[in-house]
């Protein structure tokens, strides 16, 4: 945590003015350096006068930096503008129906959502796929991430702490394409051969794990790889807010005779809960927008099935798969509208997470006790 120290702005031009307020009007800094009038000044003063006034360059520099900072807003404006412009056509055709309608195929009579050839588009299976895979991933990742954070902050021997933290950090640095590669060649065969049959045998009665998909691709594969990818984000944020809890809280609970777990539960987790929720939501934001690894293992079929072992698709993966080869303007426009929806959702989720994390790391709730 940074301690903000306010120090008044200290500028050279002002200092010059204070030195000689009386005759600063008739004195032009540019011509006094070598002139005879500066003979009586000290060497430092002569140097300052000779150097001239830097107010103009300072101003220029200041505004250049402001411009750089404003470019952040520029980027957001650019994204919003391009997405709105690009999705114009789809919006004019489908309006809000884009997000809930389905179509009936004229030949087979089956329900269809996404038919680029006949120009029928609906985002339902993509929204469904994104939500299902992300929440499933959270279900797997959150308990593990909190467990890791607890271990690292409260239990871990000091010697192990740094290497383990580094390992989880490394997990965050691996590009998503490498996760995808590993998932396609290692994870999916593993799921297909070992895990999915078990899920079908023991949980098949629920209807969520039917055995009609022999490929091993699908929501479960996507959720597992997503969970591995968002784990480091959640666990590092949880760790951060847990270390921000003051030691007096822990000491107080321990002094009442609590065991270590009771200390963690009452002294640490309770104080850090808002920040932990923030970390989880941030992880959700990452999971919603994750593209490459999900695209490689989710199966990419725009259908909705009850079974989690069936092939699906997600908002980001349909963009990755179809955008470069869109068959018509309407197709491309529909894809951009999916991108717009994804953008809005991730912005909201991330802003929420950021506010929650800030609330804790600024120390407000833990000081209130």
């Amino acid at each position: 945590m940074h301690v903000e120290v306010k120090v008044p702005e200290f500028r050279v031009p002002q200092a010059q003015n204070q030195l000689e307020p009386a005759n600063r009007r008739d004195r032009n800094p540019a011509d006094t350096g070598s002139g005879g009038r500066s003979e009586g000044h000290s060497p430092v003063r002569r140097f300052l006068l000779a150097r001239g006034n830097s107010a103009f360059t300072d101003m220029g520099f200041h505004w250049l930096m402001v411009l750089c900072a404003l470019s952040i807003f520029g980027i957001v404006a650019l994204i919003v503008w391009e997405l709105l412009k690009g999705s114009d056509l789809a919006w004019a055709n489908f309006h809000f129906g884009f997000f809930y309608k389905s179509y009936t195929d004229t030949y087979s009579g089956q329900t269809s959502y996404w038919d680029p050839v006949n120009g029928q588009f609906s985002a339902v299976p993509f929204v469904y796929g994104t939500l299902v895979s992300s929440f499933l991933a959270l279900l797997i990742a959150v308990p593990l991430a909190i467990g890791v954070a607890i271990f690292l902050t409260e239990m871990c021997p000091r010697a192990l702490r740094a290497p383990l933290a580094f390992l989880t950090e490394l997990l965050a640095a691996i590009p998503s394409i490498v996760y995808g590669l590993w998932a396609v060649f290692e994870l999916v065969p593993l799921l297909r051969v070992d895990v999915n049959p078990l899920l079908t045998r023991y949980l098949g009665w629920s209807g969520l794990f039917s055995d009609d998909n022999p490929t091993g691709l699908g929501f479960v594969a996507a959720a597992v790889i997503l969970a591995i990818m968002i784990l480091p984000i959640i666990s590092s944020l949880t760790r951060e807010v847990m270390t921000a809890v003051p030691h007096s809280q822990r000491e107080a609970v321990l002094a009442l005779g609590a065991t270590r777990w009771e200390m963690i539960r009452m002294g640490v987790l309770r104080n850090a809960r808002i920040g932990i929720v923030g970390g989880i939501i941030l992880g959700l934001g990452r999971a919603l927008g994750e593209t490459m690894a999900v695209t490689m293992v989710i199966g990419n079929t725009p259908e909705i099935h009850k079974s989690l072992l069936s092939n699906g698709t997600s908002m980001a993966s349909v963009l990755a798969n179809e955008f470069a080869e869109a068959v018509s303007d309407l197709h491309r426009s529909a894809l951009i509208e999916i991108g717009l929806a994804l953008f809005i959702v991730t912005i909201i989720v991330n802003a929420l997470a950021q506010l929650l994390v800030w609330a804790v790391t600024r120390g407000a709730p833990s000081q209130a006790h």
Binding site: F10, V12, S54, D58, F61, H62, M65, C68, A69, L70, S71, I72, F73, I75, V76, L78, I79, E82, L83, G86, L144, A145, G147, I150, F151, L152, M155, L167, L170, A173, I174, P175, I177, V178, G180, L181, W182, V184, F185, I228, S235, T259, R260, W261, E262, L288, G289, E290, T291, M292, M296, A316, L319, F323, G339, L342, F343, I347, V349, N350
Partner: protein, 296 residues
Amino acid sequence: MSTGQFHFRSRMRRVTDVAVTSLAILATLIVVAPLVAIFGYLLYKGTASLNLAFFTHVPAPPGELGGGMANAILGSAILLMLASAIGIPVGIGGGIFLAEFGRGSKLANAVRFTADVLNGVPSIVMGVAVYGLIVSQQHSFIPFSGHFSAFSGGVALGIMMIPTVCRTTEEMLLMVPHAVREAALGLGVPNWRSVLSITVRTASPGIITGCMLAFARVAGETAPLIFTALGNQFWSTSLKDPIAALPLQIWVYALSPYDDWHRLAWAGALVLIVLIVMAVSLVRFVTSRGVLKGTS
């Protein structure tokens, strides 16, 4: 409460404590396992298929054995140079504003918040935005617009670097003690000069590592390149043509039906990960040595 009950509850509390401790250890092991698996498999598969041809040859036509990813390595280098040229100066400028000029102001808070939120925007959305800005424009003042090009890919990656570089620069500049600034200003150095030659210079190890972190992050990005840089099977160094990139090539090869291409995908992933791990370890090394910590 009888003593029997008391002993029972106290034992239950100990049991819960032990159970939770072992669960936490188990969770850590479960988390470390995929990391070890990914790295082990990557090293095993990657080193087996890495050879000189990988670095010197362009991809072989489908069905033919051999070939390499020389063009993709070069393409990635060009894209990343372009991205750094855009992202690093603007990002550092934004960071300087946040730390030196706008400290505590409403504008700075808004910029900081937006940068953090922008960090979480899916990279594929960035790709769509740059596609709309550059690739799909037929008559525009932007160079190389109207078709897939290396330029648009570099712009997409550069835009993604800005928020990360901006925030790390700010954090590093905040660590520079005020005495350093005051000393510079007290000597009569103009403010802009004091910021550039004194404050930024003092924080430069941290800023450089921040830039490398952002660099490593975009080096592995595939999604924003799919419909900007597009990929290329041949040599290309021109900014106006589609260009190959390492992550794109890995994607194409991983989903191909040829074993030889799978082999190349693993080798490509190994090269990519070695570069990134090197960058991250360097960052870790520099920050843990306390280049800045000692001064704050």
